[in-house]
């Protein structure tokens, strides 16, 4: 029954010196679902993503992706296996144009990367792909702008565009709405819903906006101090008293602030 999960971690652990950021997390993700991870700041969510995407090497434990042990393989290989990653702190190519940011992501999974004797525009399908994506995330008008000149919300969209361009099977979205203006969030959620409706992708989402998480998730894992505190469907999590006490409680401040 291995194959009924697209991703599994077994006792995944990461410590930085004395600090255990991720403590023996075992978690299973069903394919074609939206699986959210929530938890207060410092819970280890970003670190957990870094272990999955190969940005960090785990101290111990295993990561199994589609039945394959991918523990500790480097980031440039997880991308080729079908894991895409967006970053909580915007991480784009600042001096390249918005379109080139996305085009590169499309190019990377093709077979033309080492054709150093021909012009890159000769491979126009990457450009077309980039334009499609920019259309989808709502950046088509800023295609020629250097990424550094995008407003913050635009950068968040670009972050998502870079991820989508490679068409990964598993998408790790680390706080995609972080710092976004409130009125821009629906557009982003629309994109996420579109991806869900295509029905062939698995999304793992880290997000603080609880209304949003409760709305879109099929399954939620709550992390606290590097450990899994609870797991379940949104309704179960909302009703879980331990979660209420440990997490939702001190998030209410956050939440009402955001709603105001």
């Amino acid at each position: 029954m291995e194959n009924s999960y697209i991703l599994e971690t077994h006792n995944l652990r990461k410590s930085f010196g004395g600090l255990v950021a991720v403590a023996d997390v075992s978690l299973r993700v069903k394919p074609r679902t939206l699986h959210s991870i929530i938890g207060p700041n410092g819970a280890g969510k970003t670190t957990f993503f870094n272990l999955l995407s190969g940005n960090l090497q785990p101290t111990s434990g295993r990561v199994i992706f589609k039945g394959l042990d991918i523990t500790g393989i480097p980031a440039y290989r997880t991308a080729h296996l079908g894991i895409g990653r967006s970053f909580q702190i915007t991480n784009v190519f600042p001096n390249l144009t918005v379109e080139e940011n996305v085009r590169l992501a499309a190019q990377s999974l093709g077979h033309d990367n080492f054709k150093f004797w021909s012009h890159y525009l000769h491979y126009s399908h990457y450009q077309e792909r980039a334009r499609e994506i920019l259309e989808q995330v709502g950046l088509a008008d800023q295609a020629r702008l250097p990424a550094s000149l995008l407003p913050h919300g635009g950068k968040r969209k670009l972050e998502l565009g870079i991820l989508l361009a490679a068409d990964p099977e598993l998408m790790l979205l680390d706080e995609p709405t972080a710092g976004m203006a409130r009125e821009e969030i629906p557009r982003l959620m629309e994109v996420i819903q579109q991806i869900r409706q295509q029905g062939d992708k698995t999304i793992m989402l880290v997000e603080h906006k609880m209304d949003l998480v409760m709305n879109v998730s099929d399954w939620i894992t709550v992390m606290h101090q590097g450990r899994v505190l609870a797991e379940g469907a949104p309704a179960e999590i909302a009703a879980n008293e331990v979660v209420q006490a440990a997490y939702l409680g001190d998030l209410y401040g956050d939440l009402s602030e955001g709603m105001a």
Partner: protein, 372 residues
């Protein structure tokens, strides 16, 4: 036909409208330079009696100031190739190497030794060997130094170049390298003698320069080159979207190494001499300075920088004698302060400003941040 041909040329040189014509004009001017020089500053008496106009022009080009200025241009072209090769690393891939002179010097020594008395290789075989050696050298030292990043890489490349400098200076290989004297008067083929056939050598240098320019341009605009640029901009992100940046940096290293070696070989042939000085960090810093003055991350920048430094060196030495380096240093600082992205970079960004430059200058002299 005419139109499509010129379009094609334009495309080869730039791929963009007006800019392509500027490049073409500059290259045409460079191609005609010996004739123009022969006509204007050559010695009229140098033309033999009964020679036709064109033949006479070529003879005049081999004389007086016409010959001298062709020599100046040859050195500019050589430095341009070297500076462009450096910018493939620094400007396009984001690698700060302090050991680039290693390739320049090795190219010079390789050609000198191989056509010299011990090997007596035919010229073109030796030139081929220069390329092969450069590929091997850049592969080996690329693989070794690319294991680390940033300032560590800079230090490692510095150490490797120093190693070659010490090897060249060592008495143990005097027979081959001439130790601290270097090699002089090795048998450059008569038909390539820069003293006998200055104009011919000029065209050799020009052709090599154009070929390297086109090759570098093509590399940078290739899918591979785009990844180099992405690596410079944000290496972590490049990895996260699936590029193993190591290979792209290595390709940049090899291209830069081969071009630098060709520049070094050409320089050795022009001067009929090669010394350990060609392997020093000063040589690398020349390339760095030319690139910074002209504009990091452009190809035209390093070419302009090379021209400016060569001319500046010549004139300053004539006007100020031994103290010229002091003046040169001040001019360099002024350029860096007023043109923070180099000449080409500042022009492209349209970010020249007297006020901002003046503020930076005051800050530099007083050590205080300018108000506002």
């Amino acid at each position: 036909m005419q139109v499509s041909l010129s379009r094609r040329w334009q495309k080869i040189f730039s791929g963009r409208g007006a800019q392509g014509w500027v490049y073409l004009a500059v290259f045409a001017l460079l191609a005609l330079f010996p004739l123009i020089a022969g006509l204007t500053i050559g010695n009229p008496q140098a033309a033999s009696e009964g020679a036709g106009f064109f033949e006479g022009l070529l003879q005049r080009a081999e004389s007086g100031y016409a010959k001298f200025w062709q020599g100046m241009l040859i050195q500019m072209l050589i430095l341009s190739i070297f500076a462009m090769s450096y910018d493939i690393l620094l400007g396009y891939t984001g690698i700060l190497s302090f050991g680039h002179a290693m390739f320049f010097g090795t190219g010079g020594y390789a050609i000198a030794i191989l056509i010299g008395q011990h090997f007596n290789w035919p010229f073109f075989q030796a030139l081929g060997a220069v390329v092969v050696i450069a590929v091997l050298q850049s592969l080996i030292f690329g693989i070794l130094s690319l294991r680390v990043k940033g300032v560590y890489l800079t230090m490692v490349t510095l150490a490797f170049a120093e190693m070659f400098f010490i090897l060249a200076e060592a008495g143990d290989f005097r027979q081959y390298t001439g130790a601290d004297d270097g090699l002089h008067g090795f048998p450059v083929p008569a038909y390539l003698s820069a003293t006998e056939h200055r104009t011919r050598f000029y065209y050799l240098a020009l052709i090599l320069f154009v070929l390297v320019f086109l090759a570098a341009r093509r590399l940078i605009n290739s899918p591979t080159g785009r990844v180099m640029i992405a690596t410079r901009d944000n290496e972590n992100r490049a990895m996260m979207i699936g590029f193993n940046t190591f290979w792209y940096k290595l390709i940049a290293f090899v291209a830069a190494g081969v071009f630098a070696a060709l520049a070094g070989a050409l320089s050795a042939l022009f001067n009929v001499s090669v010394t350990p000085a060609t392997l020093t960090t000063f040589r690398t810093i020349d390339a760095l300075a030319m690139t910074i003055i002209g504009g990091v991350g452009t190809l035209i920048g390093p070419i302009l920088g090379a021209g400016i430094i060569q001319l500046l060196g010549y004139w300053l030495e004539r006007w100020f004698g031994a103290n010229w380096t002091l003046i040169y240093g001040i001019i360099f600082m002024l350029i860096v302060v007023f043109l923070p992205y180099g000449i080409v970079g500042t022009l492209r960004r349209r970010s020249f400003g007297w006020k901002a430059g003046w503020a930076r200058w005051k800050q530099l002299l007083t050590g205080k941040a300018a108000p506002g």
